[in-house]
Amino acid sequence: MIEIKDLHKSYKMGSNSLHVLKGINFSVEEGELVAIMGSSGSGKSTLLNILGMLDELDEGSYTLDNVPIKDLNETKAAQYRNKFLGFIFQSFNLINYKSALENVALPLYYQRVGRKERQEKALKYLEQVGLKEWATHLPSELSGGQKQRVAIARAMAAEPKVLLADEPTGALDSTTSYEVMDLIQKINDAGNTILVVTHEEDIAQMCKRIVHLKDGVIVEDKKVKQVRASEYV
C-alpha cells in the first residue's frame, strides 16, 4: 500500500539546515496497523506529514497505492489527500462553527457528493463511532473523546486508502484513549490500513507493528502481538 525508499528531508532554519529524515526505507501492506514511535525530534511527525502529502520530500520516492507521489501542485495534492488519505489529529481539528454532522460530511463535500447523499453517509459514519444522537451538536458541546470520535468518522467518510493518526490520544485521558484505540482497532479489523504516530508505549502495543524512529532513521521495525484496547475499557 505504502512504499517509501531512501527518504530524506531537511528544514532550512535561517542559514543552517536541519536534517530531519536521513534515508528512511519503509513499506506498509494493506490492512496493517502500524505505530510509529520515537521521542520528540526523532522525525516521526515529519514522516507522517510527508506521508500525508502535507509536506514535500527532498530526496527518495514515495508510492501510495501504486501511484507515485511527486511534484504535486496544490490542486493535485488536495485531490490525492481527499481520495487516498484520512487524517486524525491530536487536537481533533474540527471546524468549530459546523455541527458534528457537517464536519463529517466535509470531505464528501470536497468530492462534490450531492447534499442528500452526503448527509446520509455522514450520519452512517457518525453511527459507527456511536455519536448519531450528537449529529447536530457543535464541537464545543462535545467532550474530548467525542470530538476525536467525530474526527475519526470524518477521516473515514471519504473512504480513504490509509488513515493517518497523529498522536490521536495525546490530548485524552487514559480511559478515553483506550476507547479511541478500541475504535481504531475495530476500523482496522474491518480491513483499513492505519498508521498511528505516538510516543506512548501502551498505545503502540495496541497496534500490530511498531516502527521506532531515532534521529531521523529507523532503528527498529518489529511485529508485535496486539493488545486489545477493549480489555481495558
Partner: protein
C-alpha cells in the same frame, strides 16, 4: 456560485462578528452614499440651470451691426451701417444648414420712456418687429388669441401680440384684450393675442413686458425701410451654429462692403457656445462627483480588504484543516472572493437605498418649500445605479483578491501548526 452550502458558509463567517461586519459594511455603504448624493446634487444643479435656459433654441446666434473699424473700398472707418433685408435672403441662399433666420427690429428698451398708450394708461415696453418663426427660437406660451402669422407679414397688418405684463399694466382685470387697440408711438395696432414666456431667469418680469408686431408692419409704421436691426439665426439640429457663424458673418461683410478682416464691425452672441460651456461644466461636475465618491468608496474598500485579511488570519487553522481534508485551493480562493463581493454588494446596496431615500426626502422638502434658485429635482438615473453596482463588484473583487491570495499561499502544514 449558487451553491447552498457555500452561501450558508458565507453567512456563517460574516455573522460570527456582527459588529465588525457592520462597521466594515458601513465604510462601503458610506462611500456609495456620498457618490450618490454628489451625483444627485450635480444633477439638481444641472436641472436648475437647464430650467433657466427654458426651451430656448440653444443652437442659435444673435447678430447686430456696429461701426466699422477699417476703411474699405473708399469707405471710411467708423462708418455706421445697418443690415438690410437682402442680407437675410443672401444668408439663406449661401449658407446651408440653417433652420430659421429671423430679422428683427426693436423700439424702446430698458429704462426708455413711455411709448405705448391705451386710453388713460401708458407704459414703456420693448416693441419688436418679428417674423412668425421667432416663437420657435424664443419659446412662449400663447395665453389668448394667436401669435403673428405669415398673412400678417404679407399684408403688413398692424396687429400686436402683448405679454402678460403689458396686459396687467394697460388693461383692467378681466377686460377683454382681443380686438382692442393700443397706440405704439402714435400708430394704432390691434391686439390679437397675449403670451407668457416660459423662461424664468433673472429678467423674467422684463420678458413678460414685450410687444410683438409683424416685421413688415413695423418697418412701414416706424420708417425702417428695409433696415434690419438684428437677427436671430438658428441652425439645423445636425449643424452647430458655432461652425456656421463664420460664413454667415462673411456674407454680411461682403454685402455691406466691410473689410474682410474687420473683426468688430459685426457683433454677435453665440448662445450655443455659451450653452456648451455650461454643458461641459456639468460634465466636469459629474467627474468631480465620481472622483470624490470613488475615493471615499476606496477607503471603505480598503476596510473590507483589511477585515478579510483579519478573517483569513483567524481562520488560518481552519483553512489548513480544509486543505488537509482535500479542499481545492481554488475553492478556498473563490470562497473568500465571494465573501468579499457579497459584503461589498450588500453594504453598497444599503448605501444606494439610503442615498435614494435621502434624495427622496430632499425632493419632498423642495416640493413643499417651492422652487429654489438653480436647483431642481436632484436625482440619480438607473445608469448611475448600474455604474455604482459595477464599481462595487469590481472593488469587492479587488478587496478580496489580496486576502484570497494570502489564504492559499499558507501551506497546509503551517496552517495546521497555528494555534
Amino acid at each position: 456560485m449558487f451553491n447552498k452550502d457555500r452561501w450558508k458558509e458565507i453567512i456563517e463567517v460574516l455573522s460570527t462578528n456582527v459588529f465588525r461586519t457592520l462597521a466594515t459594511a458601513f465604510g462601503v455603504g458610506w462611500g456609495i452614499f456620498i457618490l450618490i448624493i454628489l451625483l444627485a446634487a450635480g444633477k439638481g444643479l444641472e436641472n436648475g440651470i437647464r430650467a433657466d435656459f427654458g426651451d430656448i433654441a440653444t443652437n442659435t446666434m444673435f447678430m447686430w451691426s456696429r461701426n466699422t473699424t477699417k476703411p474699405y473700398k473708399g469707405l471710411p472707418k467708423g462708418r455706421n451701417y445697418r443690415f438690410k433685408l437682402e442680407d437675410v435672403t443672401a444668408i439663406n441662399d449661401r449658407v446651408p444648414g440653417l433652420r430659421f433666420i429671423s430679422p428683427r427690429n426693436q423700439l424702446g428698451g430698458f429704462g426708455g420712456g413711455n411709448n405705448v398708450i391705451r386710453g388713460l394708461n401708458a407704459g414703456a415696453f420693448n416693441v419688436y418687429g418679428d417674423y412668425p418663426e421667432i416663437i420657435r427660437q424664443e419659446p412662449m406660451t400663447i395665453t389668448s388669441g394667436r401669435f403673428v402669422n405669415q398673412n400678417d407679414i404679407n399684408n403688413n397688418r398692424k396687429v400686436a401680440v402683448i405679454g402678460e405684463g403689458v396686459k396687467n399694466e394697460l388693461y383692467d382685470k378681466g377686460e377683454d384684450i382681443l380686438g382692442s387697440y393700443i397706440r405704439i408711438q402714435g400708430v394704432n395696432f390691434m391686439v390679437v393675442g397675449s403670451y407668457k414666456k416660459k423662461s424664468n431667469n433673472g429678467d423674467g418680469e422684463e420678458g413678460q413686458k414685450e410687444i410683438f408686431v409683424p416685421f413688415t408692419a413695423f418697418s412701414q409704421a416706424f420708417n425702417m425701410g428695409n433696415d434690419v436691426g438684428w437677427m436671430a439665426i438658428t441652425a439645423n439640429d445636425g449643424n452647430s451654429i458655432t461652425s456656421l457663424k463664420e460664413s454667415i458673418v462673411n456674407v454680411v461683410k461682403e454685402n455691406r462692403k466691410i473689410h474682410p478682416d474687420d473683426e468688430r464691425a459685426v457683433g454677435y452672441f453665440d448662445l450655443y457656445e455659451q450653452f456648451n460651456r455650461v454643458e461641459s461644466l456639468f460634465g466636469a461636475l459629474q467627474w468631480v462627483a465620481y472622483f470624490v465618491g470613488v475615493l471615499v468608496l476606496l477607503s471603505g474598500i480598503i476596510g473590507v480588504s483589511n477585515i478579510m485579511l483579519i478573517v483569513i488570519k483567524e481562520r488560518t487553522k481552519e483553512i489548513g484543516i480544509r486543505r488537509a481534508l482535500g479542499e481545492d485551493p481554488w475553492s478556498i480562493k473563490k470562497q473568500i472572493l465571494m465573501e468579499s463581493i457579497f459584503l461589498t454588494i450588500i453594504s453598497g446596496m444599503a448605501g444606494i437605498i439610503f442615498g435614494a431615500s435621502f434624495i427622496y426626502g430632499i425632493n419632498a422638502i423642495l416640493d413643499s418649500v417651492g422652487p429654489v434658485d438653480m436647483f431642481v429635482n436632484p436625482s440619480v438615473s438607473l445608469n448611475v445605479v448600474v455604474v455604482a453596482l459595477i464599481i462595487l463588484i469590481v472593488s469587492g473583487l479587488l478587496a478580496g483578491f489580496i486576502p484570497a491570495q494570502s489564504a492559499i499561499k499558507v501551506r497546509p502544514i503551517e496552517a495546521l501548526r497555528t494555534e
